[in-house]
Symmetry: D2
Subunit: 467 residues, 4 copies
C-alpha cells in the first residue's frame, strides 16, 4: 500500500516566506504528511516541474448565495462560486451569514450553513450584525460563535444595514466577550446620503456619480471612527476594502499606537479606476462597487501601503450582479440613477491572477508577499492558520500549481462564475493557475473543474491569538 | 475743548505682536484716535506708568443668561457676567442664542438680543443649531445671520442638543452659503452613553467617573469626524475646548492639509486635572465640565500645541452652576450620580489672570502670544477685528491696564460672578488687571466695577476674510 | 514750528498683523511720533491716499560690496545696492563681514563697517566664520559682537568657506556664550563634490547640471545635521534659503520638538525653476545659485510651508554677478563647466514686488503675512524690531507706499543695481512701491532715488529675546 | 542503511512564521532532507518532545579574533566564540575583516579567512572599509566581494576608523556597483569629540560620562546622514545597533519613502541602561559600548519599534574586553577617563536567551517574531537564506532545541566565552537552549559543547534580492 495518496513532485514550493524551495510534497488523508527532497511511494503523482506550488488561496471576503431580506438570494451560488474559486486558485472562502433588522441570527446561520454545504469550497463564516438587540447579543451570538463563527461583520453605511455608533459599540463589546474579530465596512452613511441627494438634485445621476457620492474623505472618516470606537472597547478590528492611501494611513497610525487593526484591500482598487464608471451608456454600472475605485494615481500609493504592510490582505469582495440579469445591474433599467444600481462586482476567480500579474510580474511585490496577501495572512487573521494558508506538515493539502510565465487574456468564460460579465474582460495577465488541489484532491486542471457538489467543508474556528 | 476724551499715558502698550512700545493713547468718542509719544489735551488722564496696556480681552465662548428649554435661564446674568468680565480684563464676549428641538431660532434671537442688552459687556452671538429643519435653514438662519450673527454652534453630544452627522452636514452647508463660521463641541455621543451605562451598571457613579465616561479617544473621534465632514463641505470650523494633545494633533493634521480649522482651549485644561473631580465628598462636582480636565502630564503637551499655534484661542467656556444652588451642581442631591451633575464651570474673570500667570509668568509663552490668545485671535476669528482685539487707530478703546508683577490669591469674591464658588479658589497668580476700559470708559479700577447696566453693545458681524 | 517733520496722510497702514487701518503717520526726528486719525501741523505732507503704507522692507540676507580673499570686492557696491533696495521698497539690510581661512575677523569688520558707511541703506552685519581658531573665538568674535554684530554665518559647503562639523560646533558654542544667532548655508559639501565629479566625468557640464549636482537630499541632509548639532549645543539657528518642502519639513519637525529653528526662503525658489538653467547657450548661467531652484511643482509645496509658518522670512540672498562682466557669470568663458560659474543672482529690488505679486495678488498669502515675511519677521529675528519692521510709535520712520494695483513689467533698468541683468526680466508683477521713506526722508519716488551717499546708518544689535 | 543521518522527533517546529507545527525533521548530509509527521529510518534520533525546535541563530554582527592595527587580536578567538555561540543557540555569525588606513584589504581578508577556519561556527564576513583609496575600490574590493563577502562595513565615528562623507559616498557607490550591502555605525564623530573634550575639561571623566558624550541626537544625526547619502547613491544600507526610538524613527521615515534601509538593535539596548555605567568604582566600565545604553523608559519605545518592524534584526555586537585583562576594560587603569575605556561588551551567548525572555516570555513579541529577529531576518538580509535561518527542505540542518519554560540565572560560566565577565551576571531568564545542531551535528547539549575546531565553514554569499 502506498505511503502517500498523492505526491506533488518537483515544484518550487513557496510558503509565503523566504522565497521558494524545490521539494516534493507528500499528501495523506487530505493533509500534508511530508515535505522532502524526494517523495516516493505515492498512489498518484502530480508533476509540478517548472511550476510554483503555492498554498491554496484564502478569500476572506466573499458574498456567495447570500439570502436577502426579500427572500431572494444572490445570483452566485455555492456550486458556481466553487468552480470560480478553483479556477482562480482559491480553495477556501469566508462568506457572510446575514441578519435582517428585527430578526435574529441563529436561524440565518442554520440556513446558510446548509446552503454552503452544497458547494465544493471549504468555507468559514462572518456573522453580519445589523440589529444587536439584547436577545441577539446575549443569546444568539454566543450560540453562533460556539459553532465556530469567529468574526462579526458590521456596516457603517448602507440602508438598511448600517449600525449607529451605539449599536457598533454593542457589537464591539460583544465581540470582545466572545473572542471574535470584527470586520467593518467603513463609509459614513449620512455623508453619502447628503452627497447623493445633492447630486440627484443637480441632475447628476449617471453611474460615474456613484464615485462622486462617496469620496475618500467619507471612507477616511468612518475608518478613523471605527478605529477609535474599537480603541475605546479594546477590540481588534479589520477594515474592509481600503480603497486609497489616506484611509490606509489611518490604519498605519493606529498600528503605530500599538492597536490591533488590520487593513484589507481588493484587486478592483489596484486595477480599476473611477473613470471606468464613466464608460459609454450604462456600461459604467459594471464597475459600481463601494467604496468606489479611485483615481489612477491613487493606485501607486495603495501599492506602497501594501509594501509597508499596512494592508496585509487582498480579498475579492466578490459580490456579483449580472449586467443583463433581471435582478442585476440594470434591475431598474439602463438609465437608472446611480443609487439604484446594485453595489458589487465579481472577482473570485480573477483575484489571484490579477494580484500576481500586477504585483509580482510587474515587480511591485515579491512572490512571498503575494502568497501572504492572498492566502497566509487571511488564514491567520481568520484563525484558519496553519490548517489553511500554509504548506507545512499537518496542514490541509490545499495547493495551487502556478505557472508564473503563462500569459492569459481574461474573459468571462474563464471566470466560471454565474455572472454574465467580468470587469476585467480583455485584460492580459502574466501568471496563471494550472491546477488546484483541495484537501489532496485535484479539483481543477487547466481550467477544467472537477469536484463533487457537497464536498466542501465548513471550517469551524476556535479562539486564536490574533484577537 | 479737549482734543481727546481720555488719555492713557506712560504705559507699555502690547498689541499682541512684537513686544511692547511705550506710548500714550488718545481716545475720542470711544475709539482710539491717536497713539503718540506724548498725548496732551485730554479731558481725563489715566496714568499707566509701570503697567502693561493690553487690548481688552475677547472671550469668544461664554454661556450667559442662556435660556433653557424649560423656561429657566442660567444663573449667570448679563449684569453679573459683565462685572466678572471687567474684573478679569475682558471687555467683549461671544455668547449663545439657543435653539430647542422642534422650534425655530428667530424668536430666540430676538429674546436673547434683548437680554444681552441689559448688561455692560459688548457682545456678539453664536447661533446654536440643534434642529436644522428646512424652515430653519431656509428662512430663519438667513435672517439671524443678516443681523450679524456669523457663527453657528453645534453639539456632537449632549441630550437633547446633539446633531446627527446628517444634520451637521446640513448646518455646514448652510453656513457655507451664508458665510458663517461653525463652532463644534466635539465628543462622540454614543460612546459617552455606552461608557456611562457601563460605569453606572458597575456602580461607579461618583463625580470622578465623569472623566472615565469620556476619555480622550471620544473627543478625538468626534474631532476627526467634524473636520472630515467640514472638509467634505469645504466649510471652515472651530473646534471648541480642546482638552488634550491628541485632539489638537487632528487639528494640526488638518491645517497641514491646508484646511481652515482652528482650535480653542480653555484654562481648565491647563490648570485643573481629572484628579480634581476626585476630591472628597461631592466637592469633585465643582470641576465637572465637558470635555473633562485630563491628566497632569497632558498639560505640558497642550502648552506645546499652543506654542505651535495649533490652538490659537483661549476662551473660558464660562458656564456657571452654583455648588449650593437649587439648580446648581447639587440639583439632584449631593450623592447624585455623575450624569446628573450639570456640566460646566465658571471662568470669565479668571481666564486672563490664569493664562498670564501660568503662561507668561512661568515662561511658557510670551506676552505677545498671551495677547493674541485672549484677545486678538478670538477677535479675528469672530470677525470683530480690528474693532476689537487691537490697539490701533480707529479701534474701539477697549483696554486693560495690567500689572505684570502683582501677586494675587484667587477667591470667589474677586470673580464678581453670580456663582458661589470658583474652581480656582486659593490659587495664587502673578499678574493682575488693575483697570479696564470699555469704549473709552473706565469700567473697572482695582476690582471695583462701575458701569451702567444697559451700556453694553451688540456687535453685528459682517462677512469676513477668515471664513 | 511744525510739530512733525513729515506726515504721511490717508494711507491704509498695514502693520503686518490684522489687516489695514486707515490713519495718518506723524514723523519727527526720523522716528514715528504719532499714529492718528488725522495728523496736522507737519512741515511736509505726503499723500498716501489709495496706497498701502508698509514698514520698509528688511532684507536680512544680502551680499553687498563683499571683499573677497583675492582683494577684489563684489560688483554690487553699497551705493548701487542702496538705490536698488529703495527702488524695491527695502530700507534695511543685513550683510556679511567676511572671514578668510587663516585670518581674523576684527580687521574685516572694521573695513566692512567703513565700506557700508558709504551707502544710503541702514545696515546690520552677519559675521561670517570660516576659521574658528582659538584666537578668533576667544578674542575677536567677542569684540565684534560687542559692536552689535549678533549673528554668525557659517557654510556647510563651498570651498574654501565650509566648516567641518567640529568647527561648526565651536561656532555654535561660541554663539551661545555670546548671545548670537547662527545662520547656516545647508548643503552637504562632500555630496556635492562627489556628484559634481561624477557629472563632469560623464561630460555633463552645461549650466543645468548645476542643479543635478546638488539635489534636494543634499540640502535636507545638511539641514537635519545643522539642526541636530544646534540641538546638541542648545543654540538657536536660522536655516538660510530653503529651496523645497522636504527641507522645510525638517525645520517643522524641529519646531514641533520645541527647538528655536527658523527657516528663510527666497523669491528665486518661488518663481524660478531648475529648467531656467537649461535655457539656450550660456543663458542658463544667469540662474545659477545655491541651492538651485527646483521643479515647478515644488513651488506649491513651498508656499504651503510659508502659509504654515515654517518658513517665516523671505530674503533676496542678493549676490550679483553680471552676465557680461569680466568677473561675472562668464568669467571662465561662455562654455565654462558649471562648477566655474559664480553662484548667486541679484534680487534686492525684485524681492518685495515678486513676493507681493506671486503671494498677495495671486491669493497665496494675505497682506499681513507679506509684511511679516519681508519686514517684520526678519527685523524680529535679527533683533532690530521694533526699531525696524514696525509701524509703531517710536519706530524708525521707514515706510514704503505701495500701490497694490499697479502692473509693472520687470526690467533690469528698474532694478537700479550694478548688475547687467535680472533673472526676472520681462515678468509682469501686480503691486509696486511708489515711494520709500528711510528714517523720515523720502528716498525714492516713482523709481527715482534721491539719497545722499553716506546717509545709511549702522544698526548695532543688542541681546534680544529670540536667541 | 538508514535513510537519514539524524532525526529530530516530536518537537514543536517554529519556522519564524505562523506559529509552530509538531513534526519530525529528517537530516541527511548536514541538510534538512524531510519534514514529516513521522520520520523513521534514522541512524540517530534526538527527542524534542516538549521542546521548541528553532532554526539556529544567525548573529550578523560579531567581533571575533579581529586583528588590530598594532598586531594584536581581540581576546575572543574563534574557538571560544564558537563555544559561546553554540551555548546560546547561535550557529552562524557574520564577522569583520579589518582594514587599516593606508593599507589594502585583500591580505586582511586572506588572513582573517584563515583565522575563522579554525573555529566551529559557520561564518560569513563583512569587509570593513576605512580607507577607500582608488586601488582598494577598483582592485581589491571586487576581489574580496568575488570571494563571497557581500557587505561593507563603515564607521562614521571612531578614531582612526571613521570615514568622511566623501569617503562614505565612495564606498556606497562601490557597493552599488559590486552588489553589496553597506552596514553603518552611525554616530557623529565631531560631535562626540566636542562633547568629550568639554566633559573632560569640566573634570567629568568617570565611566558614566561615556553616555553623556554621545547622546541620542548624535546617533540620530549620523543615521539621517547615512540614509540621505545612501538615498543619493540609491544604495541599500543597514543601520547598526540602533539604541533608541528617535533613531529608529529616521529609519521608519526612510522605509515609508520606499528606501531600502534596515535597522538592527542589540540586547544591551533592551536590557541595560545608562545607569549601569554609574555603578560604583570602575564597575561601570563593564557596560561601556557605543552607542551607549539609554534611559529605562527608552526601552519600551524600542520594543515598539521592533513590533512595528522598523528594527528587524537583533544582533549581539559581541565585542568582548575582559574586565581584568591586560588589554581589557582597565588597560589604562581603574581610574582611566572614559575615552580610554575600550568600547564593547560580550553578548554572543546571551543574545537569544535575553531576547526570548524579555521578548517572548514577557509578552512583548511573539515566538515567530523572535525567530525572525535572531535568525531568519539576519539570514535574509545577509543573503544566507534559506541555507541559514530556515527550517525548510534543503536548508542546512542548523537547529536549536529550546525549552521555553526553563528558568536560568545567567552567569559568566554559562557564556563559555573568553571574557572574564558578562554584563548580565545574575539576571534570570525564562527559556533556554538545551541542544544546538550545526549542519546535522549535535554541537551542544545541556551546556556542554562538543565540536571539532576547524569544523566551521566559510559561507560565501552570492548576489541576492535584498540589495
Ligand atoms: Zn463592504
Ligand atoms: Zn463585501
Ligand atoms: Zn461645549
Ligand atoms: Zn460651552
Ligand atoms: Zn548661502
Ligand atoms: Zn547668501
Ligand atoms: Zn559599531
Ligand atoms: Zn560592532
Amino acid at each position: 500500500m502506498a505511503e502517500f495518496d498523492l505526491a506533488v513532485r518537483g515544484g518550487q514550493v513557496a510558503s509565503g516566506f523566504g522565497g521558494t524551495v524545490r521539494c516534493d510534497i507528500g499528501i495523506r488523508d487530505g493533509r500534508i504528511a511530508a515535505l522532502a527532497e524526494r517523495i516516493a511511494g505515492a498512489a498518484q503523482v502530480l508533476d509540478a516541474d517548472g511550476l510554483l506550488v503555492l498554498p491554496g488561496g484564502v478569500d476572506s471576503h466573499c458574498h456567495i448565495e447570500e439570502p436577502q431580506a426579500d427572500g431572494t438570494v444572490s445570483e452566485e451560488g455555492f456550486v458556481t462560486a466553487s468552480a470560480s474559486a478553483f479556477a482562480g486558485g482559491t480553495t477556501s472562502v469566508v462568506c457572510f451569514v446575514p441578519q435582517w433588522k428585527g430578526q435574529g441570527v441563529w436561524e440565518r446561520y442554520r440556513d446558510y450553513r446548509r446552503r454552503a454545504a452544497g458547494g465544493m469550497l471549504d468555507h468559514a463564516f462572518h456573522q453580519i450584525v445589523t440589529d444587536p438587540t439584547d436577545r441577539v447579543v446575549a443569546e444568539e451570538l454566543p450560540r453562533v460563535v460556539a459553532e465556530g463563527v469567529r468574526s462579526l461583520k458590521v456596516f457603517l453605511t448602507y440602508e438598511p444595514l448600517h449600525l449607529t455608533d451605539g449599536q457598533f459599540l454593542r457589537v464591539l463589546a460583544a465581540a470582545r466577550r466572545l473572542g471574535c474579530l470584527v470586520s467593518v465596512h467603513c463609509e459614513n452613511r449620512d455623508a453619502i446620503a447628503w452627497r447623493t441627494a445633492e447630486l440627484l438634485r443637480a441632475g447628476l445621476a449617471a453611474p460615474k456619480y456613484h464615485a462622486w457620492s462617496r469620496p475618500a474623505v467619507v471612507e477616511r472618516e468612518a475608518t478613523h471612527r471605527a478605529i477609535a470606537l474599537a480603541e475605546l472597547v479594546d477590540q481588534p478590528i479589520q477594515v474592509f476594502h481600503v480603497s486609497c492611501a489616506e484611509v490606509a494611513e489611518e490604519i498605519a497610525r493606529a498600528q503605530a499606537r500599538g492597536l490591533k487593526v488590520w487593513g484589507e484591500t481588493c484587486p478592483q482598487y489596484l486595477v480599476l479606476t473611477a473613470a471606468d464608471m464613466d464608460r459609454p451608456g450604462f456600461e459604467g454600472a459594471k464597475f459600481v462597487c463601494s467604496p468606489p475605485p479611485r483615481a489612477r494615481e491613487e493606485q501607486a500609493r495603495l501599492w506602497e501601503m501594501i509594501r509597508r504592510g499596512t494592508l496585509d490582505v487582498v480579498s475579492s469582495d466578490h459580490c456579483g450582479f449580472s449586467y443583463g440579469g433581471e435582478r442585476g445591474k440594470a434591475a431598474h433599467g439602463r438609465d437608472a440613477p446611480f443609487p439604484d444600481i446594485p453595489n458589487g462586482i465579481p472577482g473570485l476567480a480573477a483575484r489571484m491572477p490579477l494580484l500576481f500579474s500586477e504585483g509580482v510580474a510587474r515587480g511591485r511585490i515579491g512572490l512571498d508577499q503575494f502568497v501572504r496577501l492572498v492566502s497566509t495572512n487571511p488564514a491567520r487573521l481568520m484563525g484558519l492558520y496553519p490548517r489553511k494558508g500554509a504548506i507545512m506538515v499537518g496542514s490541509d493539502a490545499d495547493l495551487v500549481l502556478w505557472d508564473p510565465a503563462r500569459r492569459q487574456r481574461l474573459t468571462n468564460a474563464l471566470m466560471r462564475h454565474a455572472i454574465d460579465y467580468t470587469p476585467y474582460e480583455g485584460l492580459e495577465v502574466i501568471g496563471w493557475p494550472v491546477a488546484t488541489i483541495r484537501r489532496g484532491v485535484v479539483v481543477m486542471r487547466e481550467g477544467k473543474v472537477q469536484a463533487e457538489p457537497g464536498s466542501g467543508r465548513f471550517l469551524p474556528r476556535d479562539p486564536y491569538a490574533m484577537i
